[in-house]
Symmetry: C2
Subunit: 475 residues, 2 copies
């Protein structure tokens, strides 16, 4: 007998899981749609040449490849993996987007704003929180290099975080040109700069000392310069340099002051980078972003000059959403501008800026913190269960269920004329908050008995009043 577990690194989502996933996904969808982003879906299976070579050597290994079929599979003459496979499973949502953009140039608008929430598959070693099938929630705006794009994207992410209840989430921004400018004025050669970013990207993991050591071992800086560079970009050191007043203030006053501090820090970097054209451009970009967003965000936007994000394809603004609470430290999403990637399947470069929310991480944190609203956390299959009194009254019970649905209720029916006690026990086991009994007495009087399973209270009511009675007792 085969194992009944899902395949390694894959998960079944039972109803309670699906409800929580859909709750988060629906908020993400609703907010992105309110910003004019449109839904896109691509197939799980792509031609293998669409995917290979797009994610580096390690990525190539992690792509799930599909066996050729029928006569195409020539096992006798196959000498390597690529002889055996012609298709592969989607590895991310960006490469399919680039393919779709190239393939539908004439149908898509000049500025194409799409969101896409679909699973991707990676043959990674499964670990706590790392799965072989997981969802990505991507949003991308294609066709404009205006900072309006970043501002709208960040505003949408801010709203999603607020609606999900992440009060402590910070949206960190930086600009690749600021990092380039800092390395330029430190006279770090172009070919060493990528090494410097790789080291800097580890700041959260290995700390400032670790980064400095790595910068030295990678021969980017000597000892003093390494420490100076790391201190310069560190957020915590920066806070000591430009201290926030301790005077307690109104929410609005605090917000204005913190915004002012950010602007002041950006201005400092602008001055520092005057001699680097790239650096100046970067600082001015970030200044524009803060100007466009103004005070509208929920006080969580922050300029982080140490933010590097390892991915080499970013060309401008970089964005990361971090949680700073004790139970979970780390990123639940990231993105930025990547003007060189979407054109990979076409002739022309197309500017683009995007953001990806980490659904699986968001769900883990929300579960740990109990952030789901009661009606999702309780996960009931129905608002009310209708019992079956006896064989003769089944049709009446089904009619009652139908009437209650017309009152807007979700109604399940116990399927058999079992003893009433057994039916109530089942209702308890599936966690329905109300049960309706339509016995001989009730049928004679035209009423229905409604039992509140939490309080134990029972009422006799005309059918047409059940919906309101339930809604009144729930709220």
């Amino acid at each position: 007998m085969a194992s009944t577990n899902p395949a390694r690194g894959m998960r079944d989502f039972l109803p309670a899981d699906v409800r929580k996933r859909n709750y988060v996904i629906n908020i993400i969808k609703e907010v992105y749609e309110s910003y004019g982003f449109e839904p896109l879906e691509t197939p799980a299976v792509e031609n293998i040449e669409t995917l290979l070579g797009k994610y580096g050597e390690e990525g190539n290994q992690l792509v799930f490849k599909i066996l050729k079929r029928g006569e195409k599979l020539d096992l006798e003459n196959a000498t390597k993996e690529s002889d055996l496979s012609d298709l592969a499973l989607r590895y991310d949502l960006t490469v399919p987007l680039a393919r779709v953009v190239a393939n539908n140039k004439n149908e898509l608008p000049k500025f194409f704003k799409r969101y896409q929430i679909q699973p991707v598959w990676r043959a990674d070693r499964p670990a706590r929180g790392r799965f072989r099938e997981f969802y990505q929630c991507d949003v991308d705006a294609i066709g404009s290099s205006s900072m309006v794009v970043e501002a709208e994207l960040i505003s949408a992410v801010d709203e999603i975080l607020s609606r999900l209840g992440f009060q402590d989430a910070a949206i960190l921004v930086n600009h690749r040109d600021i990092l380039k400018g800092l390395l330029d004025i430190a006279l770090i050669a172009e070919e060493k700069q990528a090494d410097a970013l790789v080291a800097l990207d580890k700041l959260d993991k290995i700390g400032p000392k670790g980064v400095a050591e790595e910068l030295i071992s990678r021969k980017v800086f000597d000892l003093d310069d390494a420490n100076n560079f790391v201190d310069l970009v560190r957020r915590d050191v920066r806070i000591q340099v430009f201290p926030v007043s301790d005077v307690p203030q109104s929410e609005e006053g605090r917000r204005t002051q913190e915004h002012g501090n950010e602007l002041f820090l950006i201005e400092k970097f602008r001055d520092l980078l005057t001699s680097s054209p790239a650096g100046l451009r970067g600082a001015e970009g970030i200044a524009e972003l803060f100007d466009l967003l103004g005070l509208r965000l929920n006080n969580r936007l922050s300029f982080h000059p140490s933010l590097a994000r390892g991915l080499s394809y970013y060309t401008g603004t970089i964005i990361e959403v971090g949680l700073d609470a004790g139970d979970f430290k780390g990123s639940i999403g990231g993105g930025g501008r990547y003007d060189g990637l979407i054109g990979m399947f076409g002739k022309e470069q197309i500017p683009a800026c995007g953001f990806s929310l980490g659904l699986e991480r968001i769900l883990v944190v929300m579960e740990e913190r109990g952030m789901f609203p009661a009606e999702i956390a309780e996960s009931t299959p129905a608002d009310v269960m209708v019992t079956i009194w006896n064989e003769e009254s089944i049709a009446d019970s089904l009619k009652l269920a139908s009437d209650l649905r017309k009152q807007g209720l979700r109604v399940t029916v116990y399927p058999e004329a079992d003893k009433l006690g057994k039916q109530f026990k089942y209702a308890d086991s599936i966690n329905v908050p109300f049960v309706c009994v339509l016995g001989d007495e009730e049928r004679a009087s035209g009423n229905v008995k409604l039992k509140n399973m939490t309080s134990g209270d029972e009422q006799k009511l005309p059918i047409e009043e059940i919906g309101d009675a339930i809604r009144n007792q729930v709220h």
Copy 2:
């Protein structure tokens, strides 16, 4: 340069497609949830031994198999397909359901009612309307052999059809035991009965004469008996035997009469099958089903003694939804009771009854018939687009967009300070019904110009009145 088309038999869904798909899927979900069915999701990838052997020899060939990875792939010593593959793509939603039920015996309720709407993959030859990735919409109730299950399932399907607008869809029901009874009393040996059902299943395709010929060539019947048998189960002949009165009537009267005709026909079959215990059981089951549903359905339930449905795993009631209009003749869904299948991964048999709606076919018909409501068919990315007057006013336009979103509008922003004419042209191209202009004059007066893109009308309004103004002009 690789092709930018999706892989063979696979499809990209651009925003207009996704909106239509989600419109249908959401109605299906809402109705199933209102009946107490719960959402289940299983991984796209299953262990290969979970799938192979479950769909017959042809099915085995059509399963997409995934190449082993790393050291597990021993190409040198591989002599057959099964040496190369350890995983496979989901082929349907029933086998995964059976696996989940076996794997979560203690967590799932005694009666488990689940729906599942996910893609499946089959390496079929692509053809018009046949894809290699397509969605299935399955609903199954597990754990009870009561006819209440069928009644609720059919009632839900009826409501879905009504809400989607399929006035002409018929829900046909039959019972495997009625077919068995008919063949029993015709003295057809047990081992020939499967052949008879295979032939009968083709009635729609090859007509009564074709079926009779096939029954003869399969040596089930001789000439006269074959014709008699086919006539007996044919719906159209039956109607001649029990004619519907032509007298025009009220909707309710007509419904009562048609229901009465169905009951009369069932009664006739009950009489006919008295000498066959199986047949009698089947006829009584169908009689009970009609009794439980009463007159509640939208007049589309019909007893079809010729309905066979090829799948050998049905054990009781069989159900099919057919469209009878000129443009599309055929099934858009089917199901029935299968008490022997869910237990395939466990020790005990578990009764079950399910139904699968054909999403791809439903979408094709709805498209052809123009059945989507205007707001879905028009597929606009936003209710309103906000223009950018000049570089200096960008922040004000973003603030306006944010304010309009708080009024419940979906708002997109033109991302650049282009000439206004260009911005309006873009608004036209993406089909937004309204455009807001915040020029110098408007900013000075505290108003906004709202243009109705359909009528061309322009109004100057305070920001807080825009939401209502748009809603009033749309409805």
